[in-house]
């Protein structure tokens, strides 16, 4: 355990140092990412105002709160993508990771966790600017803040597991982009990314409960901006942990078969 702690600490440090080499690039990346929620925010605020000040219970200020928190959760959702898996398998870059005496997924988790630290620091001034412009209605309680803290890291782990599973398909197919696009489409609708899930038809909300998307995106946002009961908050965290455990089990099972298919293409 101590050894893994040391590996994670060292890998996160390396990642932070690497990302600080390119703060401007990171900033431009984040600003580009903010365009999406700002469009959603403006559209839904306009709809809300035209419908007498609220839509589905959300006022423009509540939409602002939802989508400003969205920007942080979206950044926490950035993980090693299936495209990355495709690249490293096709180019033989996985070989060097496989020589290390631990599962390569630890490298991904630790590296991107280090990146998140940089992202959170860079996000703070952006969030401040968005707050000044859009004046969100955000009054979280202490419990909500604590739950949110854990929820965004759990969301990061859930998405790491799901995208690693898709990425590992590359061991068989060499290309996985089509599958990832399919995943992305489902995620857009069932996660709360496109629109808060509470604005979706009830059957979609019920459907979303049984997939990981909501727990990796919508739930962390709602835990901070929604008025969830303590029971709902704990259930949400429980669902997140359950998805992490399920993801870990599947990643391990799939890895055992996948590694036998590794042909170190391209080197």
């Amino acid at each position: 355990m101590k050894r893994y702690f040391d590996i994670y600490r060292s890998m996160m440090k390396l990642s932070i140092l690497e990302q600080w080499q390119y703060p401007v690039a990171n900033y431009f990346y984040m600003i580009g990412m903010i365009a999406e929620p700002v469009i959603y925010m403006v559209v839904w605020s306009t709809v809300a105002m035209q419908q007498g000040g609220a839509v589905g219970g959300y006022t423009p200020a509540e939409f602002a709160a939802y989508y400003i928190v969205w920007t942080l959760v979206r950044n926490m959702n950035v993980v090693f993508t299936p495209y990355g898996w495709e690249w490293r398998i096709r180019e033989g870059q996985l070989s060097m990771s496989l020589m290390r005496p631990f599962h390569p997924i630890h490298t991904d988790v630790a590296y991107f966790a280090g990146w998140k630290i940089v992202v959170i620091i860079l996000w703070l001034p952006l969030a401040f600017a968005l707050t000044l412009i859009f004046k969100p209605d955000l009054n979280p309680t202490f419990v909500e803040i604590v739950v949110f803290f854990f929820a965004i890291w759990f969301a990061y782990l859930i998405r790491t597991m799901t995208l690693s599973l898709i990425g590992m398909v590359t061991f068989w197919t060499t290309r996985v982009s089509a599958l990832f696009e399919l995943y992305f489409a489902a995620e857009l609708i069932l996660s709360g990314r496109l629109v808060p899930l509470s604005l979706m038809p009830e059957w979609i909300q019920n459907f979303a409960w049984f997939f990981p998307f909501r727990w990796a995106f919508g739930f962390p946002i709602e835990s901070l901006v929604g008025n969830m009961t303590t029971n709902e908050l704990l259930t949400g965290l429980g669902m997140q942990i359950a998805w992490i455990v399920v993801g870990l089990i599947f990643v391990n099972i799939m890895w055992k078969f996948a590694i036998r298919k590794f042909s170190a293409v391209g080197g």
Partner: protein, 328 residues
């Protein structure tokens, strides 16, 4: 000495899709794919003793890298078995991975954007090297490879040779017992190649490490390896020492000499390889070496005559040529 690497009829076959060029063939391939079975490594067997430095030679596509990858646990063999330090490599046990290293001339594991010192610290954590021991060995390697002025520069700002030296330091910090080196001097200039060779030799001596080395530079092989293994089309062609290889496969020897009078027709003695002023290098059939040497000494005013085995590059070329003739 005990055997630390053992291969018994180790094989790796690939199913490679193949089709004719063009749209028609591509459309046909959608319904019926054709595959070709490629035997990258074809039932090779050998053993390597602890502390040996073995050159693993063969032309491009011979199966050298595939064999190294099977021995380091990256690839699962199709058939046969391999044992490294009494571990089955494909099982990828963490205890096994802690005791080996694989250096590939065209791959890197150090962070591109950071000074090597930061990446070295990650190696310390990965291999649980005690801090004092880590600092000692790191500084020692840095000194031997003369890297002191470079370890604080980002890797991206280093030359190819400097980067390779850093990669080798990073790969050896955990003091592996087995080194799989795949073209470690690829693309480097002569000075840099020599420095890396010296370092590998020193590491082998100091830690009694076993080294399996592939290289297209025969200078690497001559300087480091007493024993060489040659493979071609996945099959083992030769396993023995360098002199045996020359003896077995080279049909020629090289005679070098200096002449007082350069206006002599030398073609009657053998094939002239090069002339540099009065210095001549000539290639002669191996069985006629003694007779031609006598004739040269008797008939001409010769100084400084030397007889040498053919250069190793020529010998290796002969090995592959012999095999090609045997196959065709």
């Amino acid at each position: 000495m005990s055997s630390v690497i053992s291969l018994q009829k180790l094989a790796k076959h690939y199913q490679v899709p193949e089709r004719e060029a063009g749209l028609k063939a591509a459309a046909k391939g959608l319904f019926k794919r054709q595959y070709k079975n490629v035997k990258a490594v074809d039932e090779i067997s050998f053993e390597i003793q602890s502390g040996e430095v073995v050159g693993f030679l063969g032309p491009n596509g011979a199966g050298k890298t595939t064999t190294l990858k099977m021995l380091s646990g990256l690839l699962h063999p199709t058939s046969g078995s391999a044992s490294v330090l009494d571990f089955e490599p494909a099982a990828r046990s963490h205890d096994f991975l802690r005791q080996i290293t694989l250096v590939m001339g065209n791959r890197n594991q150090l962070s591109w954007d950071l000074p090597a010192l930061d990446s070295f610290d990650l190696q310390r954590a990965i291999y649980s090297i005690p801090t004092d021991e880590f600092k000692k060995i790191r500084d020692e390697f840095i000194e031997i490879l003369e890297l002191k002025d470079l370890v604080q520069k980002p890797i991206r700002n280093l030359s190819l040779g400097e980067r390779m030296k850093m990669e080798i330091v990073g790969a050896l910090l955990h003091k592996p017992k087995i080194l799989f080196l795949d073209e470690p001097t690829l693309g480097l200039d002569v000075t840099m190649q020599k420095r890396i060779r010296t370092f590998i030799a020193e590491y082998n001596q100091r830690y009694d490490a076993t080294v399996l080395l592939t290289s297209h530079y025969m200078a690497d092989v001559e300087a480091l390896c007493k024993r060489i293994i040659v493979i071609h089309h996945g099959k083992l062609l030769f396993d023995g020492n360098l002199s045996q290889l020359a003896e077995k496969f080279s049909a020629f020897k090289t005679i070098g000499f200096t002449l007082d009078n350069s206006n002599v027709d030398l073609t009657q003695f053998g094939e002239i390889v090069s002339t540099d002023g009065s210095r001549v290098v000539m290639r002669v059939p191996k069985e006629k070496t003694s007779a031609i040497t006598s004739r040269l000494l008797n008939d001409l005013a010769v100084e400084d005559l030397t007889v040498e085995a053919a250069p190793i590059e020529d010998v290796i070329e002969s090995v592959f040529a012999v095999k090609k003739e045997a196959v065709s």
